[in-house]
Subunit: 246 residues, 3 copies
């Protein structure tokens, strides 16, 4: 059983954090939250999504899981206006999700959760660098890097966080000293290289966050953590590094 | 003879009501009005367009008819600014329409009216349902329906007007009770199915109308009627139903 | 040696005047200015660009020349925000141009000036017609002309400046009498025909100028002159005529 109401914009922004990486996902519902764990088809990026019942105006649920085609779901959510209220109701008999907003009633067929890729385990990472900054700042760096290359390094050197992309001809570098970051801790210099394809997807959602925590190592996966729904939810992205050839 | 001046935006909106269905049309001009009747190439939709001389700042005309390539005409009208004044002058000798606006003079070659498809007769329909609502409401329903299907039902059931689209997987339904409509009369429940391709074209123009009257039957053509040019003109669309297979 | 700072928007608008015609250009730098002369690959249009050191917040330079890939350069300049400050620094050793703006540092590889097409000589033209008008007016005429044809005539007849485009079917004409121009001098009637492909590129930049001077003859190249960077720079376009076949 699942029956809830929420601001349409808040919910759309939340679901987008998952849909930007995968086309379908299994959502676990409990009496307190909705959550999802998913890996992209190429096994390069992982998302862990948790949305607390507090983000909703009303929320009644018993334990269960539902499979959602995120492309069709985002299509429907895209029709909603900024301040619309969204009502969600799981019809257990038909296995369809009823979505009501602005007088319109959508009935979305659910996917068989068994047909969706197994949820990954989110690995516990102990990384030497931890940077906290505004999401828009990182988004701007990714957009700049795309102009010159298809991969980008994130690093910390001498208490300065940097982002660097090097193409065949041109180079982009953004340096943010500790004083301009929300915070920076690094027990050593670190640097890892990532695919801009994935970073570009990730910053769509992450770029809206006031505060993003980056856990960074050297030639190691990076972990991005940020809040959604005014603090009533969390998104974590893990992104595997690319090998730096020099 | 035809010589007239009108607000560019008003005229563009009026002509768009025809151009959205057909690429060329024969316009009848009298001393009191301009009108057109046209059927789309597939014989599915019909438009009846009447624009009164009162919609114009100045209007001098004798009886006649002109053939217009609506694609080229809309292209030119699209260049005008919101508050531009448009001057139209038919050059009888060259059989060209002179269009002046914002210092620019366009000379549009007319089509031979004999080469344009014969004007249809607008059938008189006596339909059991009559719904009056805001055009934007109907436009929103059509946009939502397009997300899930290529056809859409319009109906009245128990004093409630509804719009419904069902795809292979998902479904959209909009219900508007009598209290939220401008008016509703129905001597019986009605329901007909229509192509969203056509509805999508039709709502481009109809979606701007404050008030649209829908005459509806069961498995019968629907008739949409609305005013243009601040009440100085009328547009009627007739749309043939699709067969409902269940 | 070249080291300068300038408002990002001013610089982007200035460089666009060149990039709209050619993909790469050789810029001459002196202690007082940056300038470029370039011809498009088909030898139809020429641009002469001069940007005075006064347009810059700071400007230190010794004589030299640099080859720039304008496509990549405009791509980078396109990332800047309206009020960003742009810092340019030529690294003589690496032959790269360092561009700093909003915390981002771009390193742009320069082209070998020897590999770029030789700079043209700007011919001295003595033309019988001289028209001065607002650039936006000319841009509007070009946009209107594109609807009906791929070439456009510029002319002066009886103290009236006109622009005319004639397609197979339709025609556009804009007439501006002397009283509505900033100024008009013509020792005789003149008229030349030009390719709208080129005019369309040219008005991208010229359309922003308050005041454009057109030097015009009969079946002769046209010369457009206008200021950039609040009067601290000049752009001249020369465009070869097309033969009028009648």
């Amino acid at each position: 059983m699942f029956k809830a109401a929420i601001n349409a914009e808040v919910f759309k922004d939340a679901i987008e954090a998952v849909s930007t990486l995968v086309d379908e996902a299994k959502f676990r519902i409990t009496k307190d939250s909705i959550s999802a764990r998913a890996v992209d088809p190429a096994n390069v990026a992982m998302v862990a999504f948790d949305l607390n019942a507090k983000a909703f105006d009303t929320f009644e649920a018993t334990d269960g899981e539902i499979g959602i085609d995120l492309v069709r779901f985002m299509d429907i959510l895209g029709m909603t206006a900024r301040d619309d209220r969204l009502e969600l109701n799981l019809n257990e008999e038909t296995r369809k999700l009823e979505i009501r907003t602005g007088g319109l009633a959508y009935t979305l067929s659910l996917l068989d959760p068994g047909s969706i890729r197994k949820e990954p385990k989110v690995p516990a990472l102990e990384l030497p660098g931890k940077i906290v900054l505004n999401g828009a700042e990182l988004k701007r760096a990714v957009k700049a890097a795309e102009k010159v290359s298809d991969h980008m390094a994130l690093g910390v050197q001498d208490k300065t966080f940097y982002v660097e992309a090097e193409g065949d001809l041109d180079k982009v570098r953004l340096e943010i000293p500790e004083s301009n970051l929300i915070s920076l801790q690094a027990t050593s210099n670190v640097r890892s290289l990532f695919s801009l394809d994935y970073l570009n997807d990730i910053v769509k959602s992450l770029g809206k966050a006031e505060q993003v925590t980056i856990d960074l190592g050297t030639d190691y996966p990076v972990k991005f953590t940020f809040s959604i729904a005014s603090g009533n939810g969390t998104v974590i992205y893990l992104l595997a590094p690319r090998i730096e050839s020099e």
